[in-house]
């Protein structure tokens, strides 16, 4: 592990405000996660990887974009660890550098168009949340 990676891992953990040392590896977060099947790295591994400083693994994981922020893992963790907060913090780092936004404004009309064809009513809330989650 490189030194700067270790610092980055520490930064991520600090930003998330969660104490990864409290994790007792019970797996309840992964047991409760509704997006488990779509994830390559699962919530409990997120905690372990953050603890071990494996930032690269976290940053390139697909899971980063699969968390629904439903807080089920946060609510049900018996030790008060907050895997969702951790995932969000990693995401923050993934998006921070310029031009790395996962979603750009020019896609919005496409969304609206595609969905509108089916008579959909995309609420503002969805657009705003998605942009807040996918871009900085």
């Amino acid at each position: 592990m490189r030194v700067d990676e270790k610092t980055l891992a520490e930064d991520i953990v600090r930003m998330s405000g969660t104490n990864v040392k409290k994790c007792m590896k019970c797996g309840k977060c992964s047991a409760t996660c509704p997006s488990f099947e779509d994830m390559d790295v699962h919530p409990h591994s997120f905690v372990t990887m953050a603890e071990e400083g494996d930032v690269a693994g976290l940053l390139k994981s697909k899971s980063l974009w699969k968390c629904l922020s439903c807080f089920a893992c946060v609510e049900r963790c018996p030790r008060g660890v907050e895997p969702a907060h951790l995932i969000e913090a990693v995401r923050f780092f993934a998006l921070s550098p310029q031009g790395l936004n996962k979603m750009k404004p020019d896609v919005v009309p496409i969304f609206l168009q595609n969905l509108e064809e089916k008579g959909a009513e995309v609420p503002q809330q969805l657009l705003t949340s998605a942009f807040r989650k996918y871009s900085k």
């Binding site: 600090r14 930003m15 907050e82 907060h85 969000e88 009513e121 609420p123």
Partner: protein, 269 residues
């Protein structure tokens, strides 16, 4: 009973029904909602990182405005409620965040989370009382089986939200009983609908929403109610259309005889 009212972005556009029926019902129940004069977006999602100050500021402004008006702040959309309540909690408990937010906003009187954030359902339960709601109902939905969909935002994390028992909530079921209908409890009422991921990964949202609607249907629900425009969208658009989905306020306004329920649900009475 007077509240400062924060409608939020969607209630002024795609979720006008929610706003309109909520206002009508509130008036009929003797609750005065005073819309905050200059509200801005709540931020839509709660910033989980403790470093993000700017995205909390619009919520703090609304909270502070309510404080200055001397009233509790009433919310309706689940996401708005979630963000307001949590940012308010940050302002109460996180000294670093509090200092930074106040430094940005430079208010006359620093804000430290004095405002009480109340969700419309909490208002019905704790201020008006479901007994009173039931008394005012003129067109009860007798025999109609309604399932309540809570979603995530109202309940979790319970340590901050303090909304209801996060795993076995009852406020919406009590509401359903109050309007004369039969509540249907189903296990996925507090599981995610797919949320914002619907935009990026429709498949994921479909999977999540279908699980909810299917379970509701299986337990015999004739309708689903929710407080959240995004939940409503997902359950409707991605949920397979098995069960009609409405805002709970639509049912409330209809039961109080203020506005007929759009989509016209057959009433047993």
């Amino acid at each position: 009973m007077e509240f400062s009212y924060f409608p939020g972005c969607t209630l002024k556009t795609k979720a006008r029904d929610l706003d309109e029926t909520a206002r009508l019902a509130a008036e009929a129940l003797g609750v005065t909602l005073r819309e905050l004069p200059e509200w801005q977006c709540c931020g839509a999602v709660y910033p989980m990182s403790r470093e993000e100050i700017a995205v909390r500021l619009s919520s703090v402004r609304a909270l502070m405005a309510a404080r200055d008006e001397g009233r509790p702040l009433l919310t309706l959309c689940s996401a708005c409620h979630h963000v307001m309540k949590r940012v308010n909690h940050d302002m109460q408990t996180d000294e670093g965040l509090r200092t930074k937010a106040n430094n940005y906003l430079q208010p006359d009187k620093p804000y430290a989370g004095e405002t009480r954030v109340v969700h419309y359902l909490e208002m019905l339960r704790d201020e008006v009382g479901f007994g009173e709601v039931a008394r005012k109902v003129t067109s009860p939905f007798k025999g109609v089986k309604i399932a309540a969909y809570y979603g995530c935002m109202l309940l979790r994390p319970s340590a901050v939200m303090r909304f209801d028992n996060p795993e076995n909530p009852s406020v919406m079921e009590d509401f359903i009983s109050a309007i004369g209908a039969a509540p249907v409890r189903f296990p996925y009422r507090n599981e995610c609908c797919g949320g914002y991921v619907a935009l990026d990964d429709r498949g994921a949202a479909r999977k999540a929403s279908r699980r909810v609607t299917r379970a509701a249907a299986q337990h015999g629900a004739e309708a689903l109610i929710t407080a959240c425009p995004l939940c409503l969208y997902n359950l409707k658009e991605n949920g397979g259309g098995e069960v009609p989905v409405h805002y709970f306020t639509e049912f409330l306004a209809a039961a109080l005889g203020l506005k007929t329920l759009e989509g016209g649900l057959a009433r047993a009475s």
